[in-house]
């Protein structure tokens, strides 16, 4: 079972918010513009959007990875 999850390098993240624009179903911003990421597996229907969010992160902080243990 391929389970993709969105993970983020919290040190690289600069709170630009592009990820929340591109996949609002999984990422929303806190009061200071930093992402709150849904730790559940990314469903098939959202994978393309998640990939686009990863590709468009200007700080290369967002990652889509196959993992069993959810991080951040």
């Amino acid at each position: 079972m391929n389970e993709h999850r969105l993970t983020i390098d919290r040190i690289r993240c600069d709170g630009r918010g592009i990820c929340a624009d591109l996949v609002p179903e999984l990422i929303r911003l806190d009061d200071w513009g930093y992402p709150i990421i849904d730790a559940r597996p990314v469903g098939v229907e959202l994978t393309e959007h998640a990939r686009r969010a990863v590709a468009n992160c200007p700080m290369r902080a967002l990652r889509l990875s196959l993992s069993n243990v959810p991080e951040n």
Binding site: D9, R10, D31, W32, G33
Partner: protein, 408 residues
Amino acid sequence: MSVLAGGPPVQRGAEVLTDHQRRFGAIPPGGARLIEEIERSGLRGRGGAGFPVAAKWSAVAAGRSRRRVVLVNGAEGEPLSAKDRALMCARPHLVLDGAVLAARALRADQAVLYVGSEHRSARNALEDALRDRGGADRIDVRVVIAPPRYVAGEESAAVRCVNDGTALPTALPPRPFQSGVDGLPTLVQNVETLAHVALIARFGAQWFRDCGTANAPGTTLLTLSGAVARPGVVEVRSGARLGDVLGDAGFVAADTSAVLLGGYFGGWIAGDVAPTLAVDAAALRGAGHSLGCGVVAVLSETECGVVATARILEFLADQSARQCGPCVFGLRAVAQCWHRVAQRTVTPDDLVRIGRWTDELTGRGACRHPDGAANLARSALQVFREEFMLHAEHRRCSHQSAAWRAAS
């Protein structure tokens, strides 16, 4: 035989090598087999996380590199904890024995002693002990100074400080056991843990298990502070009743409002519950508490728990590594809210947001610093619920805390 028991008091200075060898015996040869012995002993880390030591060593040993590093973590950034420096001062050779045995087991050719800049006696004791040993251990040992910051003792921060002089946590992966000092698989182990290793190597796993409980064998060092007549560092058998331990230090249950267990990274426990608990890391974890680095700080009835919590959160916010937005801004906002609660100037907006902001701290930093602060805040809301409501809704404090000044 234990780690500190029967030893010289801290003030008299460090133990000389010959005395050490007379008391404990010469350092055993050790080797890779030691990992199995540690496994049988059930020893868990004493730095706060409580990770099984043998599993940690095996992870480092599994690294593909032929060279490894042992990082002896004596940074002790937790302000309420004194056990690590007490141990380094009183039993430096035991700590060094543990480091050497770890290096032999992992075939590491270098060890780094990581000590806080403000802990001069501990550093002197270790350096004197190193000189005392000459080069007999045949391991390259050096001392690296940690800055006086709370997060300096965090595993990845320690590694980074050794590598480039800046003690800030790094994004994981890779973890130190994969790539640490100079990019090599690195074992980061607390000084107390290594002291236990040095004894297990001499007397065996069964000797260690003869003391303590099944899930938390051996002894553990605690730092007692706050409203006790005789504060200080003590060594207790795992499983001892906290009430008894505190009683020996001159604690009066009736005068206690709450106990902070585990330090700033731990949590508050109600004054009538704490004495009933056993000093058993595994059992405490099961009950939702945390022994952490063994800090037991007693809050007396005359002190306000809300004010104390606000001070701690302010300290934690100030001590943030400041690398991650949620910690820099979120933790600061939570601390400022608590400040206003303590000052009795909190607004309705604050109360609405404080719960959400606290929840949003969990799992949103590169390290667990904001998580620890969130846990502390939540435990305070539980234990000091009435006092909190009094401050927040009625703008009163049941203690004589008129003029409240910020810590530091």
